[in-house]
Symmetry: C2
Subunit: 181 residues, 2 copies
């Protein structure tokens, strides 16, 4: 009986916890499922870009623009330091995913601004849903695998982290957690 | 009776064919449906990027890399001129879409190379399926709406066009047609 339990335990460990010894990547990948929630595009002027997108998609209603600011429940941090970074955001629903437009506002440092200043307008990140960003050691694991977190923030109902995949995947990864589901 | 037919015709024209007089955008948008097929990421070295992506997604099988070359049925054109541009391609299937990796090969001019040289590695395009690229005047319409075609090519079973949405949408649009469906 002990042998069976030991074998089961070993099988579980091998299939669930083994990491690629060369790279440290978890064997089952770094996202819980392969559903891309949205792509996030950094733009200079969200009003102008939104006009183009609304017409490109033929939307009946122009999506609303809202301001994303730090929230006391999850204050914004950029490269480890507190930041008052703000951005105007708008979301557009496609059939299988969303498109997010982001215009960094003001001079406060943020990865949105860093990206716009160094690469110009373009696709900043691809977003995936996670559960338990802290408890499941996402940030630690991404850091270990060469995708350090460069910005973190949120609100009272959720949080996000931008993981730097620019040099490995060619794009930033946003990990997005909603506490209520 | 004639009045009814005339009214029906007018209604049809108004709802189907009217364009925004300010911009020339078709009222129903510029894609037949809002399903994003894939995002295309231009990279310097597809083998290295594919290793990262395979591990990031936790894929059991590393996707194959194939060479995209011009085909006599649809020879490649870049900014109006014939081009022998080549690229290595790989596709990864996610739950709701695909990710394409593209490594431009050789010194021949292409928009892949232009993008890599000017902006570095990153998301080059978002792709949508179309039917009748030529018969339905897609290229003409996109051009009229400020998204000129900068590269066109294909094979015996289909064709693609890269439409320059960089300054309006923040990303290139790939129109992709498959002749058999």
């Amino acid at each position: 009986m002990k042998k069976i339990i030991a074998a089961m335990l070993l099988t579980f460990l091998l299939t669930h916890c083994v990491q690629d010894t060369d790279t440290g990547y978890p064997e089952r990948g770094m996202i819980p499922d392969k559903r891309m929630l949205h792509i996030g595009i950094v733009v200079k002027n969200i009003e102008i870009s939104l006009d183009h997108w609304t017409k490109f998609l033929g939307l009946e209603k122009r999506p609303e623009v809202r301001m994303a600011e730090g929230h006391e429940a999850n204050p914004t941090h950029y490269r480890g330091n507190p930041s008052n970074a703000k951005a105007k955001l708008a979301f557009m629903q496609l059939e299988n995913m969303e498109v997010e437009l982001i215009e960094p506002v003001g001079e406060e440092a943020s990865h949105w601004k860093e990206f716009l200043d160094t690469k110009g307008e373009g696709v900043h990140h691809i977003a995936f849903r996670v559960k338990g960003m802290e408890e499941n050691h996402y940030i630690e694991n991404y850091n270990k695998n060469g995708l350090p977190m460069v910005q973190h923030g949120g609100w009272d109902g959720g949080e996000y982290g931008y993981m730097d995949g620019l040099s490995s995947l060619g794009v930033m990864v946003e990990l997005l957690e909603m506490y209520d589901n």
